[in-house]
């Protein structure tokens, strides 16, 4: 896709969702849309480090949790959420550097397990530290709704805020793909030794990316907390959250601009909506279907939904080529 095509697609998505947020007042559906956008951003953040930079992380909840806890801690001290956003992002970026600096020496699965270990340590710490609310977490006070408090009575407004972050993430990804850094990352992914031999500093490139994606995930975490108004260790730092984020990134297609958004759509439609629809029976039918669908997608197209989109486009192009004289 050309940049122009990407921008047009992004414009269409943004306009549609804005119309939905302002015109449609079904709180349940708007909640799902909000969750979808948050996960699209988280998936995109994961895609930067695990897709473009090729370092599969299973500990992304660490950064998500940073943002969420920042919001909760600021709210508990009557601080503005507008300060919590950059604070959470900064802490996440610093954490990313601290974790990434030693861990980028690890290859493949050793790195993945290390990310799990770090996130798990954070979860255990949050569960047991009084300053982080222990297992109870924080119930955030309900404030007068408005842009200043980042709390809204209308679900549509939450969708708008999340949409803004999503648009930012998409634009940033487009920028990354076309930047020097993006070029370096691709080179490293293909062959780290070869990249190093032409003077690409692999560790610096990965660290920059990791810090950026930590900050982005933290922003998503802050917005999530503003909407959930409850932050607890299991729900923000737990391994299931990390896996859900990674799944969103992969189901849609790694190292693609739209993959995470597609993955988030599938995740929300199946795991959340399907769970709400079928989970009431308690038979595990929702898990069965969700797991089954992942299996179908992955075994049919190991490169994810975006891969399917690519094949369709190629098929269309071939037909056009044939139709042309």
């Amino acid at each position: 896709m050309t940049v122009r095509a990407h921008l047009i697609a992004l414009g269409i998505v943004a306009l549609t969702l804005t119309a939905l947020a302002l015109g449609y007042h079904n709180a349940f559906i708007l909640n799902l849309v909000f969750a979808g956008l948050i996960f699209a951003v988280l998936g995109q953040s994961w895609n930067w480090i695990s897709g473009y930079a090729g370092q599969i992380s299973f500990g992304h909840a660490l950064f998500f949790g940073c943002g969420a806890y920042a919001s909760a801690l600021f709210a508990a001290r009557h601080g503005s959420p507008w300060l919590a956003l950059p604070a959470g992002a900064a802490v996440a970026a610093i954490l990313a550097l601290l974790v990434g600096f030693p861990c980028f020496a690890l290859r493949g699965h050793y790195f993945s397990i290390a990310t799990i270990a770090v996130a798990a340590i954070a979860e255990i710490a949050a569960t047991n530290l009084a300053a982080l609310g222990k297992a109870n977490g924080f119930e955030m006070p309900i404030l007068a709704p408005g842009i200043a408090t980042l709390q809204f009575s209308d679900k549509g407004h939450y969708v708008l805020v999340a949409l803004a972050l999503f648009v930012f993430a998409q634009l940033a990804t487009l920028g990354l793909e076309r930047s020097r850094l993006g070029f370096y990352l691709r080179a490293i992914r293909l062959n780290q030794e070869a990249a190093a031999s032409v003077g690409v500093d692999a560790r610096a490139a990965k660290l920059t990316t990791y810090a950026a994606c930590g900050a982005l995930a933290a922003l998503a975490g802050s917005l999530y907390a503003q909407q959930a108004l409850y932050v607890g260790p299991e729900d923000t730092l737990g391994l299931p959250i990390s896996i859900a984020i990674a799944l969103v990134g992969v189901v849609g297609g790694l190292s693609t601009v739209w993959g995470p958004a597609l993955g988030a759509l599938v995740y929300v439609a199946l795991a959340r909506y399907g769970g709400a629809l079928l989970g009431g029976q308690g038979h595990g039918l929702d898990l069965l279907l969700y797991g089954g669908l992942i299996l179908v997608i992955v075994s049919w197209r190991p490169d994810g939904l975006a891969g399917i989109g690519r094949s369709i486009r190629r098929a269309l192009e071939r037909r056009e080529a044939r139709a042309a004289p």
Partner: protein, 287 residues
């Protein structure tokens, strides 16, 4: 000198470690040959526990059930390889990770659907007593499971090192292309390795039924520890899994006692991080 509960803690740590070894051997075997991290490993453990429960329902002795379940699980593993894993291996590396994760969700859902979320344990189990050595208490069931772990590790090690198919597996894990050129049937060997790995976890599940209950989520309780154990020991190294498991067991029990039970997993994760930062290939892994 009064060492207090230290001897007991060390013994408990070793037995706990052996339990982890039991679960980890199959995982590292699959990784060694195929470079596949099987995220659904815990779910196969869960299936094996239900299978053992079912076997005792039809009158099979729980100890006899160990080889029976292992054989059944071997074939299940081979089938799963043929139907699913083979396709995943054709895709990018991430496909395997998420394919096996999809399998995890699917199997857990299936277990909840078919068996409900009730806890199942075998009535009138053997080995429920405790042996006493001075101040040290040893659960018989733990001891049996521990011996089982040692025996299984030894068997797998002997198989990989000293038998013809084992050598082929090793050749495959060292250099896939060369092995292919030498005429090794890669698909067949992969199916064998995956089947063996699942058979190991099958035996583990059967032995675990001596002390634990089967329920749909039991696999997830152990899987994470198994991953850390295998990575700590070095992916693909059978001896590494044993050493890693013993270390994790000891650190978990000693750390739990001397620091705080609520924090007992922190020293385990720190140990992993520390080891791989010094030795990025794990304790006994190859570069």
């Amino acid at each position: 000198m009064d060492v207090g509960p230290l001897p007991q803690l060390v013994v408990s740590g070793i037995l706990t470690g052996l339990l982890f070894a039991l679960i980890s051997v199959g995982l590292t075997l699959i990784f060694g040959v195929m470079d596949v991290v099987n995220f659904a490993h815990g779910e196969f453990l869960m299936l094996a526990m239900y299978a053992t429960f079912g076997a005792t329902l039809i009158g099979i002795n729980p100890i006899l059930a160990v080889p029976v379940v292992a054989i059944v699980m071997f074939f299940l593993g081979a089938v799963v390889y043929r139907v699913l894993i083979r396709r995943l291996l054709a895709g990018p590396p991430s496909a395997v990770v998420f394919g096996t994760f999809g399998l995890l969700v699917f199997l857990q859902g299936a277990a909840q659907y078919l068996f409900t979320s009730d806890y199942r344990s075998i009535p009138n189990l053997p080995f429920q007593g405790t042996l006493h050595f001075g101040a040290v208490n040893l659960g018989e069931a733990q001891l049996v499971a521990g011996l089982g772990a040692l025996l299984m590790t030894a068997l797998v090690f002997a198989f990989v090192e000293y038998t013809e198919p084992g050598r082929a597996l090793r050749a495959l894990s060292e250099d896939r292309v060369a092995a292919q050129l030498m005429g090794i049937d890669v698909q067949g060997m992969n199916a064998l390795a995956f089947g063996l790995g699942i058979a190991c976890v099958g035996a583990a599940g059967a032995l675990l039924m001596l002390t634990y209950q089967a329920y749909p989520r039991i696999g997830t309780e152990f899987a994470l520890t198994a991953f850390v154990v295998v990575a700590l020991g070095g992916f693909g190294s059978v001896q590494g899994a044993l050493v890693g498991a013993l270390l994790v067991g000891l650190v978990e029990v000693l750390g739990g006692f001397y620091i705080s039970p609520a924090l007992k997993m922190i020293p385990v994760y720190l140990l992993y991080l520390l080891v791989v930062l010094v030795r990025p290939q794990g304790l006994l892994g190859r570069r």
